[in-house]
């Protein structure tokens, strides 16, 4: 991967003093993940260009991988790290140009202190959010931005653009600031989920962002992305099975947080978020039914479980999910390790599947399927029905699911509300399904609206409350 820094300030070769690297030498710097070197493709009084090249050793990269990276997926061997400008380049640059980044230059203190004409190029910058985000992040810092998307494969134009841009920044900027901009923003644009190599301590961000980050209009986004979306729970096995089935890992990711990717257009800050409204509605129905024991089927990260635990009238709570990852997350979010014994005794958390009969499902007053059925492939729904309504047979079953008619209210929504949804039902789809279940298994059902209720299109979430005959 390559970064070039050019200037036309005269004499341009003074760039060598600022960078503390001699223009006529090729200098090497050993890095933990490979080799970096600095050389000057051009060095005249009119224009001087320094090039930083980083040669990543993929084998060393694997050894130094982040603990949260999946250990046994091919992705760690075949990836863009050796080519794309990313957090790795930011780390190498910070090391090689450490003094320059601090703004210190005893030979040319005036030059180092003030803005100078600079041109920075990155031929392959990994940029999640596309060229638009590169503009958004660099322009407020005084750069003119040229960001050109790299096509994924020229032979297959239908595949569209890659996540890389050819980036050129030009402007009158202090060199130390320019380096710090890159140091912070390369990882931010990279936003890689794995192979995150930059140290992510908050104070490093604050130091590198001194003088410019606080005033940046997108400082929140920068901070969030810079500090990284780290998952401490490894999903090795799942990542491996994903590749095996020619799927991407994201495609198999368990739907832990269940919310529309896009908020409704007219949703105002005052309104209760839909997930809260749904949880409250479910708890209210359980109260009304006088349920003392509740089974949360598909508990995800345990939002409903937390609400149920907070109410002592629910003496016994079963919480189950098919995803081991979701269960670990629920255990952490509910702070099971420090929960008082009396409270903990009310809860049973276990892995199960809704397509396998399970004796542990029996004996609850009510079962809840909150935003669950739409994650089951339609041909497998009959198995779920038999497991829940035919075999476990609680006195009451509460089912919530999105109302697809309401989706027009989500301005930017294309397709369904969650990538893992296998279907989304209209109100008549839902009532039709519920009627068939009732006829087959001897239940009756009533419907309740949840969330915003459109007079024509119905509620955001539809709820069916089933009672055993």
């Amino acid at each position: 991967m390559l970064l070039t820094i050019s200037t036309t300030s005269r004499p341009a070769t003074d760039l060598g003093y600022l960078l503390h690297k001699h223009p006529d030498r090729v200098q090497e710097f050993a890095q933990s993940i490979g080799q970096a070197w600095v050389f000057y493709p051009e060095a005249t009084d009119e224009r001087c260009t320094a090039a930083l090249m980083l040669d990543v050793d993929p084998i060393r990269l694997v050894r130094s991988r982040d603990r949260s990276a999946p250990d046994f997926s091919l992705g760690q061997y075949v990836n863009d790290r050796p080519y794309a400008a990313s957090s790795l380049l930011a780390v190498a640059m910070a090391d090689v140009f450490r003094t320059a980044r601090s703004g210190r230059c005893d030979a040319r203190p005036d030059l180092a202190a003030g803005p100078m004409p600079l041109e920075l190029t990155l031929p392959a910058l990994r940029c999640r959010g596309g060229a638009e985000l590169a503009h958004r992040l660099f322009e407020p810092l005084g750069w003119q931005v040229s960001a050109e998307a790299v096509p994924l494969d020229e032979q297959f134009p239908e595949w569209g653009e890659s996540r890389y841009v050819r980036l050129t920044l030009t402007g009158e900027v202090r060199l130390a600031d320019a380096l710090n901009h890159l140091y912070v923003l390369l990882p931010v644009l990279d936003d890689a989920k794995h192979y995150w190599m930059a140290p992510d301590e908050v104070d490093k961000l604050i130091r590198a962002g001194e003088g410019w980050l606080a005033a940046h209009p997108d400082r929140a986004l920068i901070a969030r992305r810079y500090l990284g979306r780290r998952t401490t729970l490894t999903r090795t096995a799942l990542a491996q099975l994903a590749e095996l089935g020619d799927d991407t890992e994201e495609a198999l990711e368990p739907p832990v947080e269940e919310e529309a990717a896009v908020e409704p257009a007219e949703e105002t800050a005052k309104k209760t978020p839909l997930n809260v409204a749904r949880r409250e509605a479910v708890v209210a129905v359980l109260d009304e039914l006088g349920a003392r024991s509740v089974l949360d089927l598909g508990c995800g990260s345990g939002q409903l479980v937390g609400a149920l635990l907070a109410r002592p009238q629910f003496g016994r709570i079963g919480a189950t999910d098919v995803s081991a990852h979701a269960l670990a997350l629920a255990a952490r979010k509910l702070r099971l390790d420090r929960m008082p014994e009396a409270k903990l005794a009310r809860l049973t958390l276990f892995q199960s599947s809704l397509t396998y009969r399970d004796s542990r499902f029996a004996g609850y007053d009510a079962a809840v399927l909150m935003e669950v059925v739409e994650h089951v492939d339609p041909p497998r729904l009959d198995a779920l029905e038999r497991v829940v309504f035919g075999d476990a047979r609680p006195a009451h079953v509460i089912v919530t699911t999105p109302n697809s008619e309401y989706n027009v209210h989500y301005e930017f929504l294309t397709g369904m509300r969650h990538p893992d949804h296998r279907f989304e039902w209209t109100r008549s789809d839902f009532t039709g399904w519920a009627a068939a279940v009732c006829a087959e298994y001897g239940y009756s059902v009533e419907f309740r609206p949840v969330g915003d209720d459109d007079p024509d299109l119905g509620p955001a979430t539809q709820m069916g409350v089933f009672h055993r005959d």
């Binding site: 863009d80 031929p123 790299v150 297959f156 599947s353 396998y356 004796s359």
Partner: protein, 817 residues
Amino acid sequence: MTEITIPEMSLVVLVGVSGSGKSTFAAKHFTPTQVISSDFCRGLVADDENDQSSTPDAFDVLHYIVGTRLRRGLLTVVDATNVQYESRRALLELAKAHDVLCDAIVLDVPEEVAVERNAVRPDRDFGSHVIGRQRRDLRRSLGKISRDGFRRVHVLRGDQIDQAVVAYEKAWTDKRELTGPFDLIGDVHGCRAELETLLARLGYVEGAHPEGRTAVFVGDLVDRGPDTPGVLRIVMDMVEAGTALCVSGNHEQKLTRALNGRKVTVSHGLQESLDQLAAQDAAFVARARTFMEGLISHYQLDGGRLVVAHAGLKEAYHGRASGRVRSFALYGDTTGETDEYGLPVRLPWARDYRGRAMVVYGHTPTTEAEWINNTICLDTGVVFGGKLTALRYPERELVSVPAEQMWYEPSRPLTKHGVREPGLLDIADVQGTRYVEIQDGGRIKVREENAAAALEVMSRFAVDPRWLVYLPPTMAPPETSRLDGYLEHPDEAFEEYARAGVGRVVCEEKHMGSRAIAVLAKSPEAAERRFGIAGTGVVYTRTGRPFGMEGLTDRLREAVAPLWDALDTDWVALDCELLPWSAKALGLIRDQYAAVGAAATAALPAAVAALETAAGRGLDVGSHLVRARRRRDNAARFRDAYARYCWPIDGLSGVRLAPFQILACEGRATALEPHSWHLETLGLLDHEIIQPTRHVYVDLASPEDRARASAWWTEMTESGGEGMVVKPVEVPGGRVQPGIKVRGREYLRIIYGPDYTESLDTLRHRFLGKKRSLALREHALGVEALRRLAGGEPLWRVHEPVFAVLAMESEPVDPRL
């Protein structure tokens, strides 16, 4: 000599005061592991066998150990004083809970003897008053111990204790030494004519089979039908002659009670029997009554592999004796409620049956006898105008004769299925650490965390388990090649097989696409019959996920039509590769491969240009420039490598399927056939969607053959092929790899990265052991699933090894192998 007879499998409770010699007696007659003593348990929980304060905890442990042994069917002897009724009652309840018989052996020694014995044991420092108290308790007990509930109480006194000999009694239900072959016959209900026809059809001549087969009647010989005495006469003669066995049905039970003058409700055809017997002479009636009274609830046959009971029997009750076992065997698992026809509501015990023994029964009339989890109900309602059915064992063949007429009006119309084998599995079939037994010996362990990962993928993405009859195993590469420029080469594969003693191998072109398993039925009826599911087939991935291409199964069914006749089957399972790779893997290709290619092709030319400019002004960047140029070229090769396996498809146009193995068809696990058979049979397919698999055979003894195959591989891989799979022509056993994949040099860039050829020396240190071991285990599991499928085993048995393959695939292993 005093002989004590105890049941082979039972709980034996020793009774006697401290110092009465119980431990000595137990050590003399039983093995150390059979005897559980309260002293031993006190030691376990208190480090002191005489710590009386630990007694409650010690007995908790004792009851736990005894209960576990009884559940597992082991003879167990409890060595404790047991002089009080309460302690004996707890043990009797334990025996009852596990449906085993319980005997007591009382050692009645004089108090002085016991006191004297304790006195010489310094660890027993309790006073003689303790023994006095125990003695009083025992004396009180002796008067009424026979009413405690023991099967038998053996009281030994004086010399009897030293001279006693223990003998064992086999359970009445234990006929495991009889190995058949058997003809199991369903409910006859007085239909003599049909029974005679059936026996003749089965080959019996005057109540005996010339080949020495044994008839086994599942009970309900009597009531409802036209000639109960005639049926009884046939069966009694055969049983007495030793050519038949018979278990009791509920109708025999009730008829006997009626004949004994007990008050019973005369219903369900009892009147017919009573009337018909009234016309018989008294001697016959007496004989019949004795015969029916002597019928027992169930038999275990053929080493325990076959269990016969009138209404079936769950596994925990096999070979056990108790009131509830008898009641289950006669009436089934009833809820105590009755249905709208006044008949008892029965629980579907067979649905939950997971035992290895085949259970054959009758009792519930249905129109067809059907297998449910290795159990079968043979009551096909002959008396209601249905048919009389027999099952040949071990052949698993059904033989029926139709009713000559409807002899009795059913109170409820006959249904097709009593309990249909459900398409639904139980979580206990897959969760937790499991050991899957393989037919040719051995067990394969599935670790709990792997099962957890598989459960998630299986539940969220896989097709219906009734279709999911197989998942393909992983395959190992050959030992690493030392040839310059190569990581893998055919030589190592040939060498490995030659070393293993394989004579002939086949090299099959490895298609680069997505692995696909196709399970196809000739018609919806065939799918319903064989898989119990609506539809005509599925095509799914290595992880069981449907391909979801509109019309794919129908096109394939069209393409494989020649197989229906060739294999004499109406369904088939095929192992295939679906092309192009981009059809299924486009997301992965774009995310992982094309992205790398795009980054490399954007970055490296710029780097080369920068270095060239620097070189132009005289900087010494020579080695860097050389390296950058090589990497640029490698990146271009990498891009070409993945792009070869991508082409646009439109619906099904452009999609090809390359079948290379016929996994199974009706009654056959064809995966065990030689590969030459597969290639030849698949050669019958001629359809635009079918991509043939090019192949060459290699006689490993011939250097020319080997060289020819290597050249073929080189040519194929240099023109973009993925590589080839080398397999022994005959499916090998033991530790020989079922196949070895030899991948091409360019293809490996997709796996090892664009620049892998720059660091071959490092990469040659790869560890194949785990991959090879997984490949063997997964292959064995796959074959096991197919064998179970072809053998008509229940769904959960087929699902078990299939699920295990998916679980194994989540085991961490170098993904580049």
